[in-house]
């Protein structure tokens, strides 16, 4: 049996951002439109002696110290806050058995692992609940438990793309009628000494902008030199159009299509002589457009991966040029990572929220910190003021760490 589910959209009825640019739809959207930066000098722990000392830290909710008797890892604290915001924004009224939960998370609960290791090495007994909170699925489980949701549940862990791939899975569940509504999003809490050490060793983090932390994340800019880590969570409520109509829900926008593609075999990355191969990303974008039943001409704006990576920003610009041809230099592009850093799994979910608001309000947010565009990235980056124009579809990109895989999705008018 062949089931053709393409071209069926899921509508978006609720948004819950928890980010360094603000918590809740209003403060998040206001900060994005104002081109604010949420990155600052790292305060959570002593930065490494050399290396990145900048982070996108979330103040609301404030970090709670781990209770040894009942530890709640930071990524779970953030996810619960964002999930509650999204459900409230949707005023969701549904059979709990028909509400699913999909969470994307990348780095895992490193804070709890570090704390458990300290306790174990000191010969102290661990609380039994550590076992239930330490694994990547903990945020999804805690959300379902605390909000009494009883439908399908899953956690996807595909690194920095996790929030976007979770959206793809939720779209499938709606299309296949596995659920009437899905609480879907991402959570990430990377601000731990081990994460900075690991990513620093892989040469992924910015090291040249510690003295100007607010402008350290510089997508597509000549002076960019790597990612800024962060924390946050973001959830959306997706519903079938029928379910939303039945309960007369406010529909903000729709998730129209999604694709992920592996790069397959490719030349190894050479830092002295990088090869910018756009082909896997081009395939991914075309897959998402086909899944949405639209063509490149239907895209009004791009929410770029734009992570301030020396390498991948050029790969992305090259892919955009190939897919959009002559239009590539006119199509408005923005990257939320200028203000939010590369906050792993949560970033694509925050991109989805920003894209929903872009479609709703006809405003494309500016990208701060782009002072001098890299000539290899000749894109129409929105700078300064938001760009006001009707937006039919936003194409959003995510590039997986190491370039092994790519994700793209389309947000459009409902």
């Amino acid at each position: 049996m062949t089931v053709d589910t393409t071209r069926t959209a899921a509508v978006v009825t609720g948004l819950g951002p928890v980010s360094a640019l603000g918590t809740g739809v209003e403060s998040f959207w206001r900060a994005l439109l104002a081109g604010e930066s949420g990155t600052r000098g790292l305060t959570r722990f002593t930065p490494p002696r050399r290396g990145c000392a900048v982070a996108a830290e979330v103040d609301d909710p404030p970090p709670l110290a781990l209770d040894p008797a009942n530890p709640q890892p930071r990524s779970v604290q953030l996810a619960l806050a964002a999930a509650r915001l999204a459900l409230a924004d949707a005023s969701l009224d549904a059979d709990p058995e028909r509400v699913g939960v999909v969470v994307g998370t990348g780095a895992g609960n490193l804070d709890l692992i570090e704390a458990a290791l300290d306790q174990a090495r000191a010969g102290k007994r661990l609380a039994p609940s550590v076992a239930f909170r330490v694994f990547s699925h903990a945020a999804a489980c805690e959300i379902a438990r605390s909000l009494d949701l009883r439908g399908p549940i899953a956690t996807l862990t595909t690194g920095c793309n996790s929030g976007g791939d979770a959206l793809g899975m939720a779209l499938d569940w709606i299309r296949l009628s596995r659920a009437d509504a899905v609480l879907v999003g991402g959570t990430e809490a990377e601000l731990s000494p081990s994460f900075f050490a690991i990513m620093g060793a892989a040469r992924a983090l910015a090291v040249q902008h510690n003295s100007a932390p607010a402008s350290a994340s510089r997508p597509f800019d000549q002076r960019r030199d790597g990612n800024i880590p962060g924390e946050g969570a973001a959830f959306l409520v997706l519903e079938s159009a029928e379910h939303a109509a039945r309960r007369r829900a406010r529909v903000r926008a729709a998730i129209c299509g999604y694709a992920s593609r592996a790069a397959g075999d490719r030349p190894a990355y050479d830092p002295f002589n990088p090869a910018f191969l756009p082909e896997p990303m081009v395939r991914t974008i075309r897959g998402a457009l086909a899944d949405a039943g639209i063509t490149a001409r239907d895209i009004s704006a791009i929410s770029a991966n734009g992570s301030s990576s020396v390498f991948y920003d050029v790969v992305e610009a090259t892919a955009i040029a190939e897919v959009f041809g002559a239009e590539a230099s006119r199509l408005p592009v923005h990257s939320i990572k200028a203000g939010l850093g590369q906050t792993g799994a949560v970033t694509p979910a925050l991109q989805a929220i920003a894209a929903v608001l872009t479609v709703e309000h006809g405003l494309i947010p500016p990208t701060p910190n782009v002072d001098e565009l890299d000539p290899r990235c000749p894109l129409a980056i929105v700078r300064g003021e938001p760009l006001a124009r009707p937006v039919e579809h936003v194409l959003a990109h995510a590039i997986g760490f190491g370039g092994y895989y790519f994700t793209a999705f389309v947000v459009g008018r409902a």
């Binding site: 910015a206 030199d225 790597g226 830092p271 002295f272």
Partner: protein
């Protein structure tokens, strides 16, 4: 500074993290990075070893276009002086 770069190469070769013949092969400032026969992970190992020895961090942004051991040594000197 090029002596530091060559010292890092010899050390990694002795530990078999890059081709072992680099422990004894003649190397100087004009030796091309591509001639070393090091794979991409080996290049990252080399950069990390140089950073440890010179007490600097080399941003990914300064690496593309470096061709020889002299180029690499100059990049390290430049970062040290800027600090």
């Amino acid at each position: 500074m090029v002596a530091l770069v060559i010292g890092a190469i010899r050390h990694l070769a002795e530990r078999r993290l890059i081709p072992a013949d680099l422990a004894s092969r003649p190397l100087d400032g004009s030796t091309a990075l591509d001639e070393l026969g090091i794979d991409s992970l080996g290049k990252l190992e080399l950069l990390t070893e140089i950073e440890e020895r010179a007490d600097v961090l080399l941003s990914e942004a300064v690496l593309p276009g470096l061709r020889t051991l002299d180029d690499l040594a100059r990049a390290v000197t430049h970062v040290k002086e800027r600090r």
